[in-house]
Symmetry: C2
Subunit: 337 residues, 2 copies
DNA sequence: CTGTTAGCGCGTTCAT
DNA sequence: ATGAACGCGCTAACAG
């Protein structure tokens, strides 16, 4: 166990020939006119020589704060949440904060209490796409909380950072309608969260104002296989076949494309397919997906900023981030009968 | 700031009418025959009433350990590393350990020192796919270290967890050769790490033993766009066109498929394409990719286990995890001239 | 069987 | 301008 013992601030003090308090002041950056320039320099040199690093456990204990936030996500393997983390971690880093992840099991139901042991070690929580009831434990604990993708909260509730999903869906619908599509099937994710409820509702509302529009809906799990099956149902349902499949996510769109090909239909010539998320998958597919770009990193970044503001007692107005339609090759005018 | 002050073990002790040490023993689970059943029960009840949670900072300071591991990954947005994290976190959780992520910038070169502040707060490091020199800072610090996907280390070096990538490549080559392919281009990731060096070398070696085999190589960045460009170069190079593209990853394979289609070639009828990783992308594509499944979660899990063993002073033999070829629809016999 | 004591490393106050 | 002393909450030793 060589070199297992690290130097403490006392070691630095001894090496620099000063007291512990002086070391703390100098390294803490609050010595303006309290410690002479010469001594301050000696301290810094000694700290450098010894490769001194403050003991975070001791600091946290003394200060009562940990400079660590907990990010609760449904599934890290999904690229969207990985990006959210990346954004949150970047902002945290700029403020000497850390971010630890808590992937809530299965993303549904009141997750196993993430705070049994963690509560003591974190200053606040950023929760992404969680059902409100799963967060009751946090609110009870009086831990500062920011909610992501959960919809605008109540007046006195936690700060929120949301995506303009309704607007995103509107852009997709107008894009499809503008191309001439009237028979559209919504391939909906079978997940009961705010963001997906809004998508379903907005598709309905927006299409209700279009003359001759026919909307159908197929629900499925958020995975390629189930999406493919749902798309097959949609494309083989009795009556006239839909000319466009509006999917709740790029993953579903991938399944839809496979279904179309399997039925001998070409995308986009016979059926148009739109996605949502703009994952790297969207451009890996052929044809590339028309989809809606979500600023995932910004969501994480704004979430972290909101938490920092909350901890500072600063105002935290609700945030809504704009999203943009990215037209690509998977949509085109419908076939002429 | 309601309820911001949490109860301490002293509060629990007072409420239960015992001493602080008794609380510590009972809640720490080491009171067999040292505290009476009745008192223990009173302590637990009091702790429950007060919703007591031990202060982790204080515990860490006292014990000198944090029960936290640092996982260094090149890029979290890549599904593979997200899975590695998931596996590591699962094993960590089973041992009341936490895992914090450090995404090393750009995944190349000696990363910015992740330990400036973190070193003090972690018990050990699990580093994935890092260049050896980027890890010198860790080894110097005497911090327990486990290396992932870095190849078998020196005798006295850190424990390693590797994938049997050479065997995986061999399975792919034999699969292609078995189908009848002889002109094969290796679409290689332009990344200088052990795992990719091994892949290139194994392709060469394995194909060297096949009569009439012709190997070409195209290098590119690990992304769809560059892969597509590289595949176009491969498929339009002077001389007879290769009948199979052996790609270093599913992402590259996706680019290769797009390139083939763009040139009017069908996959797999005109050209076979194989991937590596078995990401969810592999089955999202059409045709589904023949690829090699990597047990990413197991890598993370074994890495964490190795670190725990290392911390316990237990032996940590090098681990190599098997990988398996998953034949799907993107490979078939070569076209008959 | 239980309580008392000491100290982990740090940041802060008070006294020099 | 600097040093001595204290306590954050916890656990491991030792007394009783």
């Amino acid at each position: 166990m060589a070199g297992s013992d690290r130097p403490t601030s006392r070691d630095v003090a001894r090496a620099a020939g000063v007291s512990q308090a002086t070391v703390s002041l100098v390294l803490g950056g609050k010595w303006r006119g309290r410690v002479s320039e010469r001594t301050a320099d000696a301290v810094r040199r000694a700290a450098g020589e010894l490769e001194y690093r403050p003991n975070l456990a001791a600091r946290s204990l003394r200060l009562g704060r940990t400079r660590t936030a907990l990010l609760v996500v449904p599934a890290l393997t999904h690229e969207y949440f990985a990006r959210v983390y990346t954004g949150a971690a970047r902002v945290a880093d700029e403020h000497d904060f850390g971010v630890v992840l808590y992937p809530s099991p299965e993303g549904t139901g009141p997750a196993r209490d993430p705070f049994g042991s963690a509560r003591a070690a974190i200053d606040g929580v950023i929760a992404s796409s969680m059902a409100a009831d799963a967060l009751s434990g946090i609110a009870d604990g009086g831990l500062p909380l920011v909610m992501l993708d959960s919809g605008p909260g109540a007046a006195g509730g936690p700060p929120t950072v949301d995506l303009a999903v309704a607007d995103g869906i509107r852009q997709v619908v107008r894009h499809l309608v503008g191309l001439g599509h009237r028979r559209i099937t919504h391939l909906a994710a079978d997940v009961d969260t705010w963001t997906f409820r809004v998508r379903a509702q907005t598709v309905r509302e927006e299409l209700a104002g279009v003359a001759g529009a026919e909307l159908a809906t197929e629900r499925c799990e958020l995975d390629v296989g189930p999406a493919r099956a749902a798309a097959v149902r949609a494309l083989t349902a009795p009556g006239r076949r839909p000319t466009a499949l509006l999917c709740d996510g790029d993953v579903l769109a991938a399944g839809a494309c496979k279904a179309a090909r399997g039925l001998g239909l070409r995308v986009p010539d016979d059926v148009s397919v739109s996605g949502f998320d703009d994952l790297s998958l969207a451009t890996a597919l052929d044809p590339e997906l028309t989809t809606v770009r979500l600023p995932a990193e910004d969501v994480g970044a704004r979430g972290m900023s909101a938490l920092l503001a909350l901890l500072d007692g600063a105002p935290t107005p609700p945030t809504e981030l704009p999203v943009h339609l990215i037209p690509r090759a998977s949509t085109s005018p419908p076939p002429t009968d």
